[in-house]
Symmetry: C2
Subunit: 409 residues, 2 copies
């Protein structure tokens, strides 16, 4: 089986200033193509470190890709080090210089001279066009091995990979065997309880199972080389834990709830407090969300809860804003305000302050409504403010999904 | 200077299923302590790959840290490979087993037997308590070198690092020299235009500058070993590009706007459409946000824009929802609805559909109001739906920040 390696270059990654999202994106693309990433090395913008990473990877993997350090500023030294490693001169490319100048003149700006270095290419390398920025990708091939270099800006890297590198790889290797895999997403059960519920799973030979605990839920990835065997493992798992499963593969809570609402011809609305807009952000994440999302409010004060949603002053004074009663009035209020068939309300304590003995930080009351049904759920989430907000918003979606799927757990 | 290396273990990272946020977090912590990460290697859950990474790192760096693969399921093999590499037996630890059982009984659950392996520790290693999960951290030290292993779940890793590893490192090394650094955040100017505006910068000897382009803005990080020299470089930069700077170091758009609003005793409200709740999510991200955030609406339909915000039917039919006129009526509507002193409205086309010849995808109209001032801005953002929504929400915050700072660009 063919394979690949990724070298991420950049002080900012090793200083923790930047999260390396490029690795996940590239790794996913390469695995899907049948060029799984075997190893990834992250090094500083340092000549010796870049050279050492190239020595470790080049010729040991079919494909080696570097990201980062191709920009126009002084700390961008990747191109020089690539040229040095492969023993090539840097050559000025008039066409690339034209391209850089065009990018600036389109925006009505003069081209800073500092960008001239963007038009330099190691001799024998192919420049890959970058329509989203000034740094071209680089490609070199020798005895069946390929090397690519991309800029570190994610949008530019993705663009050059898709339009420049991917066609070359698909053309070059005719023997690619993509890893077959299928992932099941569960909700409402812990990793070890799932493991026990699945036991004994008796996976077919050649099928493997990876456990992927996510924030607030667990994913199960089945992988191997034979689709029929993976499918039979999936069926066996579904018989045991089906009611905890809400989706598979690329499904996300928002993609699943959007599809369910669209299929059933429903619109949903939201009144949220502690999640501060996050639940609505999720619901409007996908294109075409206005088909399924009616609108909503972030009722951050008691006054707004009363004025916009009709939560009674008595409820607020007697039970407080973080209560089952308030969640139920909020959900009924937003549903009638927006004339939607489904609605969710969220009111809780995201912390770190605001907790009391009776209502600990992490306590969140949800109100749900679907047609004439109205019900509430209370859940205590762990973690910091960010985690509590995120888990609460996702919990609201997943709970509504399970109900829209006609299940109860 | 002392240094460190990080080994990230997990198929899911190299398959692109998981973004390695642990690396950024740990790297930032280690750099701040004076143990900068020199190199990071990511490998699969594979005995040979784990062994090879340990061989490459152990004894070459002062501190080596592994994350991932310490869970209770079959694919978690890190602990066995660590024991093999260091030539140790795995020993059952009754105290750890008690701890695991306590964790489950607290949640009212029986302890799945599969968790017994969590109580095994390589002989001569110290187990580091993990109060957030069942997998303890591991610590081993030899001739001035330290090795740590943490579970891959971010909340558990952070917790064990902070409570277990950090105190050990600070106690063990008395000669740590933290890298001194200061980062300036700019807005409203491109990377190369900034580079030209700063030119010639004449950095003092021993001070370095890293350019960190972010989505929609550029950060400049000055670093070195002498604080006074870094400070003088910063002053020189500020003289040239001061009006484009809105914050420094750990400042984020929401931390800066929150501080400005709090200082000036103001509350802000939001009416958003294409950003679908994201701007409000940002504004409520930090603890105590109810001091500065009054509340708002996601007016996803014309009906809600009219009913809640009082946008006139004439404006909507004549200019459309994506217009200066609508943005201005939205911002005035939400400001009066919430009685706030400041307000922002956002209405635009996040795409990928919905664009027209006159109003391209990425076109976003903003309305702003501060006391009696009301103004609008239109901006066209590039990128996909996610990028447009994110950039638009951040643009709204940064534009208001510059105004609250009494500047105009």
């Amino acid at each position: 089986m063919r394979n690949s390696a990724i070298i991420s270059i950049g002080n900012e990654i090793l200083l923790g200033k930047t999260v390396n999202t490029n690795l996940a994106w590239l790794a996913s693309e390469l695995a899907a193509m049948g060029l799984p990433v075997e190893c990834s090395i992250t090094v500083k913008d340092d000549p010796e470190a870049i050279g050492s990473a190239l020595r470790q990877c080049w010729k040991h993997y079919d494909v080696v890709i570097s990201t980062g350090g191709l920009g126009p500023t002084d700390d961008d030294i990747t191109k020089q080090e690539i040229a040095r490693f492969f023993g090539r001169e840097l050559v000025f490319d008039e066409k690339l210089w034209q391209h850089v100048q065009n990018l600036f003149s389109k925006r009505g700006l003069p081209t800073p001279q500092i960008n001239r270095c963007q038009a330099m290419v190691p001799a024998g390398f192919t420049a890959l066009s970058n329509w989203r920025g000034t740094a071209p990708g680089l490609y070199y091939s020798d005895q069946g091995h390929c090397f690519f270099a991309f800029a570190g800006v994610p949008a530019e890297m993705m663009h050059v990979f898709e339009t420049g590198a991917k066609p070359i790889l698909l053309d070059k290797y005719h023997d690619l065997e993509p890893v077959l895999q299928k992932t099941l997403h569960s909700f409402g059960i812990s990793e070890s309880a799932l493991a026990e519920a699945l036991c004994p799973l008796n996976l077919p030979r050649g099928v493997h199972l990876a456990w992927l605990p996510q924030t607030g839920r667990v994913d199960l990835r089945f992988y191997g080389e034979r689709e029929d065997l993976i499918e039979s493992a999936i069926q066996a798992a579904k018989e045991k834990i089906g009611k905890y499963l809400w989706g598979s593969d690329e499904d996300t809570p928002v993609s699943v709830i959007s599809a369910l609402l669209r299929e059933q011809g429903l619109k949903i609305s939201v009144a949220e407090s502690c999640t501060g807009g996050l639940l609505q952000t999720m619901l409007t994440d996908l294109a075409g969300s206005s088909d399924i999302y009616a609108g909503g409010v972030v009722s951050y004060s008691n006054e707004l809860k009363n004025k916009l949603l009709g939560v009674s002053a008595e409820t607020l004074s007697r039970h407080g804003a973080v209560s089952t009663e308030c969640a139920l009035e909020m959900v009924e209020g937003i549903k009638s305000l927006t004339n939607s068939q489904a609605a969710i309300s969220v009111t809780g304590i995201a912390g770190p302050d605001g907790g009391t003995k009776e209502k600990a930080v992490g306590t969140v009351h949800f109100g749900f409504s679907l047609f004439k049904d109205v019900w509430s759920v209370v859940h205590i989430f762990s973690g910091d403010r960010q985690a509590i907000r995120y888990k609460a918003a996702e919990y609201a979606l997943l709970h509504m999904i399970i109900r829209l799927q006609g299940k109860r757990i």
